[in-house]
């Protein structure tokens, strides 16, 4: 308990940065992932191919490598300089977007065929069929997998600790500089993560109840 109380400044800044990483990456990943999923079912072959290539390549690349590239490689390219937090958010978003895209696509597949047929029968073009009819229903169906993607994202933010972002994963290094026991600090970090994951799961159950599809 003392380790936590005497170093509450470290824990608070650490987890604040973790939550910042989480929220921004979650929003960007949700938007990008939905677009990619839409591209994957679009009628234009080139768009489908692009989205499939993106998903297949990034899903087979370790997150650590993605962050490695953005945190250490990108500055060498002489483009607009970005700080480590931004680099981590870009990396996390690009990585998580592929998982969001797969979740949304599986949701699109669960929407009954009749829905899309009805939309086409009243003359809606593809974009409207997708945005007005299919996606709203697909999102409701994919709340559980979507939340496990976001829980994974929350846990993945710790990887950014290896790339000079001060967040929850980096608390240990700072604690040992102050001579605090590493194990106690790490166990506290783990406990906070368990609580955060628990909150997200509770939110998931609530949303599932609220947005249940009546069929």
């Amino acid at each position: 308990m003392n380790t936590l109380l005497n170093n509450s400044d470290l824990f608070i800044t650490g987890f604040r940065n973790t939550l910042i990483l989480f929220f921004f990456s979650a929003i960007f990943a949700l938007v990008l992932g939905t677009i990619v999923a839409a591209l994957r079912v679009s009628p234009v072959p080139a768009m489908r191919a692009t989205a499939t290539l993106y998903v297949n390549v990034v899903r087979n690349t370790p997150l650590t490598l993605v962050l490695f590239f953005f945190a250490l490689g990108y500055p060498k390219l002489g483009l607009v300089p970005i700080d480590f937090t931004t680099a981590a958010i870009i990396g996390l978003s690009l990585y998580t977007a592929t998982y969001v895209a797969e979740a949304v696509r599986s949701g699109i597949n669960t929407v009954p065929v009749g829905q899309a047929e009805a939309a086409r029968a009243i003359g809606l073009p593809f974009t409207q069929t997708l945005t007005l009819v299919i996606l709203p229903q697909a999102f409701r169906a994919v709340i559980p997998p979507m939340f496990s993607v976001f829980i994974a994202l929350l846990k993945n933010t710790t990887v950014a600790a290896g790339f000079s972002v001060f967040e929850a994963g980096a608390i240990r290094a700072n604690l040992s500089e102050r001579g605090e026991p590493a194990l106690t600090g790490l166990l506290w970090v783990a406990l906070v993560f368990i609580i955060l994951v628990f909150i997200l799961s509770a939110l998931q159950r609530k949303l599932e109840q609220k947005w249940k599809v009546a069929r």
């Binding site: 234009v44 690349t61 979740a103 846990k155 710790t158 194990l183």
Partner: protein, 283 residues
């Protein structure tokens, strides 16, 4: 190409799609071209930066780091499959004093970030006097605890998605529960959950890269080391490209193997009829 989401294109739509296709291709070419141009302009393709990777000794070291990644992956994969089966059986046990701890165990280790687990093993345990924790043990132990818990859920979902008649038939011919589980339910569950199991194995392979942070001598760790050699112009981007090719290649081989295995298994008569339940792999 028929899809339920759009009508078969007529002549107008077809020309529109063609234009959109060309536009997409142009945008992609523009982005890729810009990246390559930037790489070239900032000298990432200079021979000096790649020279390092032509030395036999360096290539040997890279091969060793691939070996390190693969040995961590193989050990962790086998052990997490075993742990997953044990935990799944535990959770399905009729005795509460077995099922409750197994439930707690899976929930606990799925909620803790893998990196924190590895750090607990690598930095935490030695401080309370646990000896002989190498980076390898830390990486493997973290991977096994996390992925074992995830796989336990996968196996359990697979077993529960089987028709009830399967276990009932087993009991009817007088098999004990352990026998029903191991010789009737588990083989079918594994078959129907194979895609999910394989994608979880890909996750294990990718997550070995976290060993980079707890100083395990794997591909990414070597890449960073070579990338920071100043006398060769700190070729961090060439090193990242080499690492990316190795990782994506290994994952694609694993995925191809999975596809082959799936086809082979589904060819057999009496293959499981239940499609894989929608349990997504944990990232």
């Amino acid at each position: 190409m028929s899809s339920i989401l759009f009508d078969a294109p007529g002549p107008k739509a077809r020309s529109r799609y063609r234009i959109l296709g060309v536009v997409t291709a142009l945008v992609i070419l523009l982005i890729v071209g810009f990246v390559i141009l930037r790489f070239a302009q900032s000298g990432q393709f200079d021979a000096k930066k790649w020279q390092l990777f032509t030395f036999p000794l360096v290539q040997q070291t890279i091969a060793q780091s691939v070996g390190a990644t693969l040995s961590a992956f193989a050990t962790a994969a086998v052990l997490s499959l075993v742990l997953g089966v044990l935990l799944a059986f535990g959770r399905l046990s009729d005795r509460r004093w077995i099922s409750a701890p197994c439930y707690g165990f899976t929930e606990l280790f799925r909620a803790v970030p893998l990196l924190i687990l590895m750090m607990i093993f690598y930095y935490g345990l030695p401080t309370i006097g646990v000896q002989g924790i190498t980076p390898f043990t830390a990486v493997v132990a973290g991977l096994v605890l996390y992925n074992g818990s995830v796989l336990a859920e996968v196996f359990r979902a697979g077993i529960e998605s089987l028709p009830r008649g399967q276990s009932e038939a087993g009991y009817a011919i007088g098999l004990p529960k352990s026998k029903v589980m191991t010789s009737i339910l588990l083989p079918q569950a594994v078959r129907s959950m194979l895609p999910v199991i394989i994608s979880q194995l890909v996750v294990i392979l990718k997550d070995t890269a976290l060993g980079f942070i707890v100083t395990y001598n794997e591909i990414l760790f070597q890449a960073k080391y070579f990338g920071s050699q100043i006398q060769y112009g700190s070729p961090i981007i060439p090193a990242a490209i080499v690492a990316a090719v190795l990782y994506v290649g290994m994952c694609l081989i694993l995925a191809a193997f999975a596809k082959w295995l799936e086809r082979r298994l589904s060819r057999k008569p009496g293959a499981a009829v239940t499609p894989a339940a929608a349990v997504p792999a944990e990232v």
